[in-house]
Point group: C3
Chain length 115, copies 3
């Protein structure tokens, strides 16, 4: 299984819902010993998900990262919010354009989940 999640919402409910889905998915795949590659592409208003000081569930994010979920942020989002990558969790990776990455992954055969 290979899947790319897209999140653009800055609201906690939407972010917690996505974190719950990631946990459910990891539970499902570990029970079935299925290999899974997961990427979460963060852009638009969702950047606060990756800022350690700004949200109430940093431990949830860090725990998912430790279970092989990759978190990617868009360079365009960093630019428009005047954020530097070193303000974010250290494991966050930067992609030049979120939409381009989502397209490339789908055309490589990955599934797509819009949060």
């Amino acid at each position: 299984m290979q899947v790319v999640f897209q999140i653009t919402s800055g609201e906690r409910d939407a972010q917690l819902s996505m974190l719950g889905q990631l946990n459910n998915l990891l539970h499902y795949t570990s029970e079935r010993q299925t290999r899974v590659a997961i990427e979460v592409v963060v852009h638009g208003h969702a950047w606060n998900l990756l800022l350690p000081e700004s949200h109430p569930f940093p431990e949830k994010i860090a725990s998912l990262q430790g279970r092989s979920v990759r978190f990617l942020i868009c360079q365009n989002t960093l630019n428009s919010r005047q954020l530097a990558a070193d303000q974010l969790f250290p494991f966050v990776e930067v992609v030049p354009a979120a939409i381009a990455h989502l397209i490339e992954r789908q055309q490589e055969g990955w599934a797509y989940i819009r949060c």
Copy 2:
């Protein structure tokens, strides 16, 4: 044509909009004598769509089901809402994890529509 719809909204407008899309799609495919497989994966707040007593358009749901639309609900959603499958329409099927099902279908070549 093979397509999986994902709905998470509990709001009537969003649900009616999806039911309209399903009707339009069935009209399109029946006019062209195109075979179509449709699954609607219900999770999050959308569970009330499948509860006969709770919403105002049960006949719309039943009519779609009669035209080969399958309605699937997530076991995780049932657990978190303390719902039993027998409270839902009798034709509803349960999948262990909504997101996993959506990924599997896409990787089998199904299209994906996010409602």
Copy 3:
């Protein structure tokens, strides 16, 4: 790269956000000399995006169209809003059913972005 965007929102913020994403994508692909085919499928409340008199950024739409983005509207949406195609930008194309088009493109290998 081949990608179909779906937009159903009539809100300016959501529409501007999509136009920004299209610009970022075109910038990305032109820098890398990557060929890209982009279609924007408009339905539901988003019809006002394609009505020249009703929104504040007609020049943005026209500029994207000049850069090979195709804008498609759903015949069902025109019918339900009692709109005629000649009220819209002259470059807008009509598809019989938005959802059917989104499914066909995905099954032809196009990526899908839900706005």
